[in-house]
Symmetry: C2
Subunit: 212 residues, 2 copies
DNA sequence: ATTTTTCTATACCCATCGATAGAGTTTCCT
DNA sequence: AGGAAACTCTATCGATGGGTATAGAAAAAT
């Protein structure tokens, strides 16, 4: 019996391409085309397809939200993420949510079919190149981000954010209802922890690390 | 006689979708599929297709570079940009380079066909929504950028850049072989011209406007 | 129960920053 | 030739920023 596939992508042309692709494979049958996350979710809930090819970027409810819902509701559909470029964090999140496969749009269609068969048979399919590269980046960025989150106390993080917005010591003190001296102490500690040389470097650092 | 179309996109599935789409239209004939910019360029040079459907994001030589080459060499092929999301500056650049149409991937395939016919007949096709929105943003950003370039003298711009990198007055003075006092004067003038309240605000401003 | 961490505070000192005033040089435009 | 704009300098002064020492109170970890 042919595996029932649902397709979800906001680009009609991609849907056409996918449908055409699987039309040539007798062991797959496309049972639904979805243009946004909401539609995808209702289709998966009602039709219970065997497989879902899911684009991450979609208008409204995005792919990850769909994946999360499927995971949380324990729906039996196996999901393959098909996307142009996968963000590092998105990848990790997707894997955490039990995605069965990750395929880039720039890969050969035949490979996608192969991946689908693999998954239908109970396996997994992660493009090695993508995964390793993404994970490497993730480690770097995550290291920087979480480093800041770990070494800094909540209060210090708060102050870093304010400094990143261009506030003065006096202003920060007023907003936090503490003395200006205390603000200075916090900055002093922050500088030591983050190895930066003043509030300007700190502000730029905060911007880079996405702490603002 | 059917119009000869070349397709350029790094996603094979999209190529499949496009080919399938135009296969149903008797007045169009797909004569080439290209996976990167280099391939696209050689195809356009040799086969001189009537139309080229071009994705902006491609590995290696990207879509804009291809468009630039086609424009510079005076090749007769009319280009339609087909992309997921078009950057403001990219759009302006594309129009400047004589692109004949801009279509988003999320638009209905039938509309793409309609646009192609329009262009083949000598017209243009720009998605109104995209264009107006992009242009509005562009005006804003461009205004901010050029404003800074106009009101600031070359020397002042130099100093703004250095401040944006986190340098101190003393360091800036040393690098420019001027006295620290002069640096202060420049900053004073800059603050007045840009209506900012200190070097931190200035640095953030410079970052936003892309002056660094 | 004791130690550690976190947050808070004050006081002093020096470096840096920013505003202001006054003035000389060059360069470019009219 | 004359004027405007840009760049340079010195000098002063108050405000802000940052280092250091000292230390109390509350919360968390051991």
């Amino acid at each position: 019996m042919a595996a029932r596939i649902a397709l979800a992508d906001d680009h009609p042309i991609v849907l056409d391409g996918l449908e055409q692709l699987f039309h040539l494979e007798p062991d797959f049958e496309v049972v639904a085309r979805c243009r946004d996350g909401k539609e995808t979710l209702s289709v998966v809930r009602e039709q219970r397809p065997d497989l879902l090819i899911l684009d991450i970027r979609m208008p409204g409810t995005d792919g990850l939200a769909v994946l999360r819902a499927i995971h949380d509701e324990g729906l039996p559909t196996r999901v393959v993420v098909l996307t142009a470029a996968l963000d590092d964090e998105q990848l990790v999140e997707a894997v955490r949510l039990g995605v069965r496969g990750v395929v880039l749009k720039e890969t050969a269609p035949k490979l996608l079919v192969k991946a689908m068969r693999e998954i239908q048979a109970g396996g997994q399919w992660l493009e090695p190149g993508v995964v390793s590269r993404a994970l490497r980046k993730l480690v770097q960025k995550d290291a920087g981000f979480r480093e800041a989150e770990k070494v800094l106390t909540p209060r210090e993080l708060e102050i870093v954010r304010m400094a990143g917005s261009g506030l003065r010591n006096r202003q920060i003190a007023d907003r936090l209802f503490i003395s200006e001296g205390t603000v200075k102490i916090h900055f002093h500690n922050i500088y030591q922890k983050l190895q930066v040389n003043g509030r300007l470097e700190l502000a730029l650092y905060a911007r880079d690390k996405g702490l603002v």
